[in-house]
Symmetry: C2
């Protein structure tokens, strides 16, 4: 870093984005938006009709978020849509309005690849709702998709990262780590070449892992389930986010935004059952990322109702007074904790 | 091109994006969207409140749409916002809701550059309305901005490319060619090094040209002016688009979408007065691009009222029955016509 006096005489930091890291970069950019706008997965827009619109942009760049080795064009299109729709779900959307697509590709790119991407996008829209809302195309050095999704909040209102409260139960909506295993299989990761690993894993596990990576499912369905099972005497407050950057990152984000600490329970780690026994299971469950489940913090009675009524939802811990740390019940942490997360600026 | 039999046995074309060109690429991508969605500058979303939302995405890539040689970070931020807001104006928006920003930059990018871009974006929003609505950041090989703008239509409804009719007067809202001259000055274009050219041009012309390139003004103001001056007995139909890709491209787009031919008048070419006499004046007026004025096709009485009430608006021609061609009155075309346009996939 290179500390220099700024125009106002104060010391400001003229560093690179790699120095800053994604969290600090986003914190700095948030100053340009209305207060609170950058705290969540997407931006909320109050419409005059009373329904709130939700807007979310995600960029997927070749070599960072996708490659021809791990994804066909169709899978990439699906995944690009799913990544965005997952952010809408994480905000409490029940209805997808549509997607706008900024496509960047070198002039030498084959039409077939573009066609595949749009086919995959269309498949996801046919499945989850919404339409293609135009976009833009440009040449560029690197293939890239910048997608903006627009949705509408359900009647239960928004899910905010900052809405967790001490005493809440923390749940997630499905197993974690499969997507990371799928990526490792597709990349023929040397860590998977040992005895009983990689190609020797059961076929159905390999298929499930590859599908989790290539065709993730945004959990828009959970928003409706949440609303339906809310006990009459509970207010509609839910804290939450999705686990796109990893389960531990999601829990940390909720705890930090809510001014609480999170307490996770080792015995309740949501490792995909078929992955138990893999040496990476716990690390990939907590830090693998791209599972696109929801992580929610809500009143214990409501959490219990959700767990009872919605297959896959499980309790993983709770919130307590604190300042954004993640602890382990009885100090029983997985070995290797804390795990390094994904970084966008390498 | 490489013609091959497709899966359905028909001959399909597996060509590159450079082979296709931008128009054909957009035509093919339009199949994935609802009918008509890709015909205009932006997508229309009917809101339940009765107000129609307009969504537009534009991508600006370094080396294609901007460079450090021609734009500071602040100018780039302003321009990226203005490019998008111009598309909103071209659809008939009077109100800007905001912008979502997808920022791609190599990890070695300085924070100061990002700060400059967001400062420029914020300046444009402060001037034209709307807020920063979040976004996403990613690493990448090339600096790039993918911006999505959201606006609301004015009470006059949408301006559509396809709404021109034979007999309409075609107007534009200001002079053309200045932005291209500004770019040439900033790039120290050898074509400007002759006698009385480039550095020898009057200082105020050079400044106006550089400002036109660096700080374009989206013509949101024209939408309000249009509505105010409409004669009581005219319906609110207006055909139009902006001249971001050049004046000739805008006229062609309106004529083609409206199922008409356009007739331009050489004596009415909207060359910036200070540029008259430059050998490139006519070519840059028609094909330079990035002037971000509106080009409108409307009933003659309404066009006259707009010209009378709104400084800068001038008649440039008319529409007649046809199939999308551009002609010149009395066959008096500028020398060198037709001029080559900008291409996104080189």
């Amino acid at each position: 870093m290179n500390e220099q006096p700024g125009r106002d005489g104060a010391v400001v930091s003229d560093c690179t984005l790699a120095d800053l890291g994604e969290w600090e970069l986003i914190r700095r950019l948030a100053r340009y938006a209305p207060p609170g706008q950058f705290d969540d997965d997407a931006a909320l827009l109050d419409e005059r009709s009373g329904r709130t619109l939700v807007l979310n942009t995600d960029v997927l760049a070749e070599g960072i978020h996708f490659s021809d080795v791990t994804s066909s064009a169709e899978d990439l299109g699906w995944r690009a849509a799913a990544v965005n729709l997952s952010d809408l779900a994480a905000m409490g959307c029940q209805e997808v309005v549509g997607l706008s697509v900024g496509l960047v590709a070198p002039a030498s790119t084959r039409w077939r690849w573009v066609e595949g991407v749009y086919s995959g996008l269309s498949e996801a829209l046919a499945r989850f709702g919404g339409e293609l809302l135009g976009g833009d195309c440009s040449g560029g050095d690197q293939r890239l998709l910048a997608i903006t999704a627009l949705g509408r909040l359900g009647p239960g209102g928004a899910i905010r990262r900052s809405a967790g409260r001490a005493g809440d139960t923390v749940v997630c909506t499905g197993p974690h780590g499969l997507s990371r295993l799928g990526l490792a299989l597709l990349q023929e990761d040397p860590a998977l070449t040992g005895e009983g690993m990689g190609p020797q894993l059961p076929l159905d596990l390999r298929e499930a892992a590859v599908t989790a990576h290539r065709r993730p499912t945004p959990r828009l369905d959970v928003v409706e389930a949440l609303r339906r099972c809310r006990p009459d005497d509970e207010p509609s407050r839910v804290g939450g986010t999705d686990s796109s950057d990893g389960l531990a990152a999601a829990v940390t984000a909720i705890a930090r935004s809510s001014g609480c600490d999170a307490v996770l329970e080792l015995s309740a780690l949501p490792v995909a059952p078929a992955m138990r026994g893999l040496p990476q299971a716990e690390a990939w469950c907590l830090g693998g990322g791209e599972d696109f489940e929801l992580v929610l913090s809500l009143a214990p009675a409501w959490a219990e109702a959700l767990i009872e009524t919605t297959p896959g939802v499980q309790r993983i811990g709770s919130l307590k007074p604190g300042q954004g740390s993640v602890h382990w019940l009885n100090d029983e942490a997985p070995s290797g904790w804390p795990f390094a997360g994904f970084t966008h600026f390498r």
